[in-house]
Symmetry: C2
Subunit: 361 residues, 2 copies
């Protein structure tokens, strides 16, 4: 009865991921030896999210404990990296009733530590997802896709024909928001950075369902407001989604209607949220924040509801494949150094080339 | 049966008040000739508020019409300046039942045009206030005092022992907020600009009931947070009132607790509201605006409720006399030029010397 050779990416202290992450090899029991409600999982895919990086840097408010108990065989207190991913069931303990080998599942809770080859969890901590959906959708539905879904439904009652505006239109959340809105008949205006191949990007986002795609310069132009009014036919823009901050946020906020809601979920420009005083006073602007981690911690049922709604969209073919690079990674016949090196390369690429997903071979 | 020689400050077009305001003389019927529900009023006192100035400049969203019907005898379409003031009843029409000569009242609605010596209104447009309260309180209770009262009660449930923070602690609203909080047992931290005679101001605000008064430098200091925590004993600061904007707003926002509410009602620095992205996402900051004009337009009953609550405070001696300069003004035996000149001087002084109230002799 052979045990399982498992590996995880861990950090014993906070710091730049490239400097502090390590591979840790450990043994897990074979499927036949599982007890009670234990489920043995093999990782299929896990994304490298900005929040994972901030967590390792120690600047993210929600963090797993750095503990000697995080994994078997640790020589120093460590935390396991990663919060999102999809797993395949390899085996189940005798009292597990809802999962069987071959099923897919995702963690119910945050701070799971998904950058690892295998895991064992109580059944209650896992949420099954169909093993027929695209792997990249399954691996990213809990954070980006769910965030987009929640932000479009939680703050403002958006109905068919209504309008919202967002910056970071090319981000993963932005792309999901475009597609979810399209499916619901909601119109979108997405702000993107100007770039040499702008038309390509505009065409791509339009093909996903974007109603209009504009640049930051467009958004900041005083005369462009007229164009927006022509587009909307004077219909109000009720919601703004902000993941950029700075002047971009300020320009975007001016397009909101009276009583509009401005939701901040990121700050890619590293600048604060800047909003005109007059909008608060004279247009009753409401600016709020969105953090899926906290929202779903407070309300686990909401999380399950959103996951089920997002699944419907995925299964209905309403969400295009995730815009990302897949990095195949092997656990067998590599050293700890080679294993951690793959993740370090993925982290470097994620800075330059967009979203990276690690896929276990 | 002599008619009444009335005068008003009007503007035929938007612009800098000093350039566009004029005096207009006109006749009103004598008290004996009033009809139906008409009430003849003599102005006792009217403040020169920043919003009055913005209205004349044409940059304030709520504005009276520029119309030939604004006053009797106008030669060109004009609007009457001023939104706040207290009047004495000179006479009433036969169907007026709730007011009698000698009573005091304030306008129920905004855009009344209070910079005038006399007025005639239907009884229904007037709200009686006791003629025993201080004149300056009566003249300013509808905007500044009511704003402070509403902001402390409308957004967050503040109970005895709770904390709020505000900038512009030396402003009229700031002073009212300090006193209203004191009366309710609510603790305040007021941010003021540094100045040569800082101690004097701190002593003055403390004597009004301020729990703590700090400078903008204190508020911006990273180490000062510890002092604030010592003061509050770790109790949450649930509400921030902002009439300044810029870095001041940003520094103040960092002192708010999780789920805190940041209310903007002014922008004296002329800078936008700058708020850290992380507060929105990780501390669920909610930033909203307050505009008493709109709030009381939407809910006239709320306005009457607030006025009655504020009256209780004034009558209970819980609000010190208004911090302002009184400018005596006469209507008889002066020319239109002299009349308008008094207001122009008041406007100049209001820029340099703080709140000016025009008091009719």
């Amino acid at each position: 009865m052979a045990t399982i050779n498992a590996r995880a990416i861990v950090y014993p202290q906070y710091g730049e991921p490239i400097n502090v992450i390590k591979a840790h090899s450990y043994q897990l029991p074979a499927p036949e030896s599982l007890k009670d409600d234990q489920v043995l999982l093999q990782t299929l895919a896990t994304p490298l999210n900005p929040s994972d990086i901030n967590q390792i840097q120690g600047v993210y408010p929600s963090r797993p404990p750095i503990s000697i108990d995080s994994l078997p065989g640790l020589k120093e207190p460590s935390a396991v990296c990663g919060n999102e991913g999809v797993f395949k069931v390899l085996g189940t303990g005798p009292s597990v009733s809802g999962l069987k080998p071959g099923d897919w599942c995702i963690p119910k809770k945050v701070n799971y530590g998904t950058w690892r080859s295998h895991a064992i969890s109580p059944e209650a901590d896992l949420l099954q997802v169909p093993n027929t959906i695209p792997l990249t959708q399954a691996a990213t539905m809990a954070v980006n896709t769910s965030s987009a879904y929640l932000m479009l439904s939680h703050f403002v009652d958006l109905n068919k024909g209504d309008w919202f505006i967002q910056n970071g239109g090319n981000s993963q959340v932005g792309r999901c928001a475009i597609q979810i809105a399209k499916k619901k008949g909601i119109n979108s205006i997405s702000i993107v950075r100007d770039r040499p191949n702008l038309k390509e990007l505009v065409d791509e986002l339009t093909s996903l369902g974007a109603t209009h795609v504009i640049t930051e310069d467009d958004s900041g132009s005083k005369t462009f407001g007229k164009t927006v009014k022509q587009w909307t036919g004077g219909e109000p823009i009720k919601l703004a989604l902000n993941c950029v901050g700075g002047k971009n946020a300020s320009d975007m906020s001016r397009k909101l209607t009276k009583n509009g809601v401005f939701v901040t979920y990121g700050g890619m420009s590293m600048k604060p949220v800047i909003l005109p005083t007059s909008l608060f006073i004279f247009k009753n602007l409401k600016a709020v924040g969105f953090w899926i981690t906290e929202m779903t911690k407070q309300d686990p049922e909401l999380r399950e509801h959103v996951i089920s709604e997002v699944l419907k969209l995925i299964q209905g073919g309403d969400l295009a494949n995730i815009h990302c690079t897949l990095n195949k990674i092997v656990n067998d016949q590599v050293t700890d150094e080679q294993f951690v090196e793959s993740f370090k390369q993925g982290l470097l690429d994620s800075k330059k080339k967009g979203k990276q997903i690690m896929v276990f071979d």
